[in-house]
Amino acid sequence: MKKAEIFMASFWAALSAAIILEVHYIPYTKQPIGWEKGLGPQAGWFPFWLAVIMLICSLIVLIPKVIRAIKDGLAEEKAFISVEGFQAIMRALIPMIVYVVTLPWLGFYLGSTLYLIYYIRAVGKHSWTLSLLTGSIFSVSVFLIFEKALKLTLAKGFIEPILNQFL
């Protein structure tokens, strides 16, 4: 857990530092961070000082952990994640990322069908029938409800011309 704790605390520290830079130092995104006399705080005042407090807090969490790690070494008494747990997460997360990245091309309908078929078949180890059925029924019902009944357009990707035939 030590590494994970250090990683998270450094993440917050880095994030707050980035925000401080963004608000006050980078010319393109810079905001006035002052307190105008008679008018109150300017646009950057709130985010700037919040980020400063966040940086201080994350350092309060981070520094003792780093000192202890230097003293005792980074050997973990309790692993952050088991090997099986990590594998299980990756099996779910990587397709999830692929699904999101390919969304502009595949669209929700095709993408969801493929994702469902993959997950139910390959991760869930269910039968082909179940995976194919779930995948197609889900997409068709979402299509009917969203596009047909409610006239809400979800991203359809390259099969858009085909799907538009059914509208």
Partner: protein, 332 residues
């Protein structure tokens, strides 16, 4: 032999003509939407999207379009997110955006690198009026612009200028406030609020002193005596408020403002598609439903203008905004 050659030429011409007929027929055939037409509303649900949804319902009711209209809200960044979305639909005639004046003000006042000039102006469907409204509970004796100006001067002399609420920053409400300040030489303190509702609440509750707003939003409070209309920023008197004078009547001919309800299409759209949409919108605007709708929300739909004419008007409109924003010190 010469004969044969001639026949060949004629035959070739005939074949060519035959081939071209369907092609020409195709190009003569008008553009028609091949997928649902998307109405982009660059604002949150409620308020401004009523117009878009109303167009959708009229098109549906009279079956004016072979494809359905779908409405999506792309809110954020004072209308810039929706505009960017429209610009990214480059060349696709199946989209149009219903925008307020933010299509002009946001590009002028922020560092976004696109503007309404990147879109295809389709139609100025209607205009909304602005009027100066004051909390009559807080100031029961202020009826006229003169009294208002006197009050404002007294207040700024005390070091507590009158507080004017308005929706957003560097948008139409602040511009009209600047217009009022410049015309009458008074000093007001503009307090940006998040929405028209926020302004209404603070005005009726007496937390701010006055506001400039669309008179339609305040009809209920005017009738109940919570809010009083002092002057309209319009050339003609506002129907429904016929006893409220206008700025030109009081000797400020330039202090008029009309808020846009305009329709835009994506850039580089097929002119035929623009033509089709223009016809579609014309049909909507001619319905009695549309006229009733505008009357109810007190919009001025008497002079819809289309296409290039709308574009020309937008240039003037843009210049007017830039002028006041510069005078108010809001842009360089």
């Amino acid at each position: 032999m010469k004969h044969l050659k001639q026949i060949r030429v004629i035959a070739f011409g005939l074949v060519l003509a035959l081939c071209l007929v369907p092609l020409m027929a195709q190009s003569a055939q008008a553009w028609e939407p091949k997928k649902p037409v998307t109405v982009v509303i660059p604002y949150a649900r409620g308020g401004a999207d009523v117009i878009g949804r109303f167009i959708q319902s009229v098109v549906g009711k009279y079956d004016l379009c072979p494809q359905p209209l779908v409405v999506i809200n792309k809110e954020g960044g004072s209308g810039s997110v929706g505009m960017k979305y429209l610009i990214d639909r480059k060349g696709d005639g199946h989209y149009f955006m219903v925008s307020l004046s933010s299509a002009i003000t946001t590009p002028l006042t922020t560092n976004i690198n696109f503007s309404w000039r990147d879109c295809t102006p389709l139609c100025r469907a209607a205009l909304d009026r602005h009027a100066l409204c004051i909390s009559s509970k807080k100031y029961p004796d202020v009826y006229s612009l003169d009294q208002f100006v006197k009050l404002a001067k007294e207040m700024s002399a005390k070091g507590t200028p009158l507080q004017m609420g308005g929706t957003g920053s560097k948008q139409e409400d602040e511009i009209v406030t600047i217009m009022l300040e410049k015309a009458t030489g008074i000093d007001l303190r503009y307090i940006p609020m998040t929405s028209g509702g926020d302004v209404a609440k603070n005005l009726v509750g007496g937390h701010i002193d006055a506001t400039v707003n669309n008179p339609s939003e305040f009809l209920g409070y005017v009738l109940s005596g919570d809010v009083r209309l002092i002057v309209a920023f319009d050339k003609q008197r506002v129907p429904g408020y016929i006893n409220v004078p206008t700025m030109p009547e009081l000797g400020y001919p330039d202090a008029t403002y009309q808020m846009l309800r305009g329709l835009f299409m994506p850039p580089d759209v097929d002119p035929e598609a623009v033509q089709y949409m223009t016809e579609l919108i014309k049909k909507v605007i001619e319905t009695q439903d549309w006229k009733d709708f505008l009357a109810r929300i007190m919009l001025d739909g008497s002079e819809p203008i289309y296409g290039a004419e709308f574009g020309k008007w937008l240039e003037e409109y843009d210049a007017m905004h830039a002028k006041y924003l510069k005078e108010g010190g809001l842009i360089q």
